[in-house]
């Protein structure tokens, strides 16, 4: 086993998370969390509970206010240009997709590959076309993000995060606002990624998603955590989630209110 497989993919020790817009505003405190390679985590919380900031910190896009966060054993504070290779092991899908509006879908997906491997568009075309085909985006490839529906924009954002074949994929509320057909596609696709997809050479991918609705993620193989009142609660596997009887869990499962009391 190589060294990276022994160390945890993501490890947080007593981390305090500041808000992206104002780092002095603490949204989460005292997070201790360890994600082993190949695990599938669902982090649930109400809107404004700090899910996005938490995920950005996990991706190394933001430094912790206190504590330390390690990705494959590397402290994310040191994530500068020297550690670019480590950083690129992490794929990040933003909540709104955040595609580059001036570029077409194809250019959006190709950009990371071209930039990091210094390729002309023609040289990157094979990999890009294959991924577009895989995510059923080929017919939309020449359109700009503004002219396609939200469902497809989300998928294009996934494609852009996958083009560099990351080891860890972090998705910020990926199912929000999706149509039912797309929702099932996403669940199936993320499941395949986490078990090993041939796009990523059949290597099981570590996946972390955040959500404000636990219902679609019900699965015995996934692990769960909860964000509430600036605290991070580890719930464990699905049977433990159900057994917890937590009011917020019931709310996120959209169970009838009388059972909450």
């Amino acid at each position: 086993m190589s060294e990276t497989e022994n160390t945890a993919a993501i490890e947080m020790r007593e981390v305090s998370v500041g808000a992206m817009r104002d780092i002095s505003f603490i949204v989460l405190e005292d997070v201790t969390w360890s994600v082993a390679a190949g695990e599938f985590w669902t982090v649930a919380g109400q809107p404004y509970s700090g899910k996005s900031d938490f995920l950005m910190l996990a991706a190394g896009l933001m430094a912790p206010v206190r504590g330390e966060c390690r990705l494959f054993g590397t402290d994310t504070r040191t994530f500068g240009e020297a550690k670019l290779a480590e950083r690129l092991h992490v794929g990040f899908v933003f909540a709104g997709g955040q595609l580059f509006n001036q570029l077409t879908i194809r250019e959006n997906v190709a950009l990371p590959l071209q930039y990091h491997h210094d390729l002309a568009p023609a040289a990157a075309a094979r990999a890009v076309e294959r991924l577009l085909e895989l995510l059923e985006l080929t017919p939309l490839a020449d359109l700009t993000p503004v002219s396609i529906s939200e469902n497809w924009r989300a998928r294009a954002a996934l494609a852009r995060a996958l083009i560099l074949k990351p080891k860890v994929l972090l998705l910020d509320n990926p199912l929000a606002g999706l149509g039912i057909r797309h929702l099932h596609w996403w669940l199936r696709f993320l499941d395949r990624l986490s078990r090993g997809h041939d796009w990523c050479d059949d290597r099981p991918m570590t996946v972390v998603v955040t959500t404000d609705d636990l219902r679609p993620w019900r699965d015995p193989s996934r692990k769960f955590a909860l964000l509430r009142d600036k605290k991070f609660f580890l719930l464990g596997h699905w049977n433990e989630v159900e057994a917890s009887g937590d009011a917020l869990v019931k709310e996120l499962l959209a169970e009838p209110m009388e059972t909450v009391e």
Binding site: A59, L99, Q102, L111, Q114, Y115, D118
Partner: protein, 286 residues
């Protein structure tokens, strides 16, 4: 990358200043304005140095991506503006130079024609006019594009993909504008001088074209060429730095974009005038 942007903006986190309550006194008002000005200046200089650093340090990084972007920006800040510049140059020739030529001829001072033309058109009006026109046409577009991109989270997306926003967004614009302003100034000057003579000729000023151009050529020295190049490149560079800085500064919200665009254009003009006055010192020194 992230730290590059962070460094520049940490210096100018002026929110505290803007929010703080202000006693009703003119001196306080003046003091706050002065501080804001100094902080903006500091941020701009830091951003300019960071941009220069990135240009040299990442000269070889991702050339297949950045070079087409640079070409695109040169086309946008240079080639695309050529028709407008020809029009302005003709107008400048007819309105300003033609009149100057005929006025000088009327008082029999055609001997001063060359030096007047060089001072007015080559040294001052040409570069400054070109810079202001490019600022108006392309600089505003930069602020709005980058401001919108910033507000929509595209800059964070670049960082998440390990792409330096300064390298990808700022460097091509800075190089494109520096080249654009330089090239357009040259065309502007040539066409303005030519059309100026045409206007004078139409007014029957007794001046042979040979004399006119000979006088201008004699009034020019090698330093004019060097300083013209330096000055126009500096104009382009700093206009791009100011507009990119304001577009990318602080996590913007969409509603801030228009306000920031106005501020950037104003500061762009001020920066051009300041650079221009620096060059006057150089001209006077020689």
């Amino acid at each position: 990358m992230r730290e590059n942007l962070g460094k520049a903006f940490a210096l100018t986190d002026t929110q505290i200043f803007r929010r703080a309550p202000l006693p009703r006194s003119y001196t306080n008002f003046l003091g706050r304005k002065t501080f804001l000005f100094l902080m903006t200046l500091q941020g701009l200089v830091a951003f300019a140095l960071i941009t220069l650093g990135v240009i040299f340090r990442k000269f070889r990084t991702a050339r297949n991506v950045i070079r087409p972007r640079i070409r695109q920006e040169i086309a946008r800040a240079g080639v695309a503006l050529l028709p407008m510049f020809l029009f302005v140059a003709l107008a400048l020739g007819f309105l300003v130079i033609g009149q100057t030529v005929s006025a000088l001829a009327r008082v029999g001072a055609t001997g001063y024609l060359g030096s007047t033309m060089v001072i007015v058109v080559v040294r001052e009006l040409g570069p400054l006019l070109a810079a202001v026109l490019v600022l108006a046409r392309v600089g505003t577009a930069h602020v709005i594009e980058l401001g919108t991109a910033r507000a929509l989270g595209e800059v964070e997306a670049l960082e998440a993909l390990g792409i330096d926003p300064v390298h990808y967004l700022v460097v091509p614009r800075v190089i494109g504008m520096a080249v654009g302003v330089f090239a357009l100034t040259v065309y502007l000057i040539i066409v303005a001088l030519g059309s100026g003579y045409l206007f004078a000729f139409l007014q029957d000023v007794p001046l042979a074209p040979g004399d006119y151009f000979k006088q201008i050529a004699e009034a020019l020295n090698w330093l004019d060429f060097v300083l013209l190049a330096l000055k126009t490149v500096a104009f382009g560079f700093f206009i791009a730095v100011v507009t990119c800085y304001h577009g990318l500064a602080q996590p913007l919200r969409l509603e801030d974009v228009s306000r920031v665009a106005v501020r950037a254009v104003t500061q762009g003009v001020i920066v051009c005038v300041l650079i221009d006055s620096l060059f006057i010192l150089l001209y006077l020194g020689t």
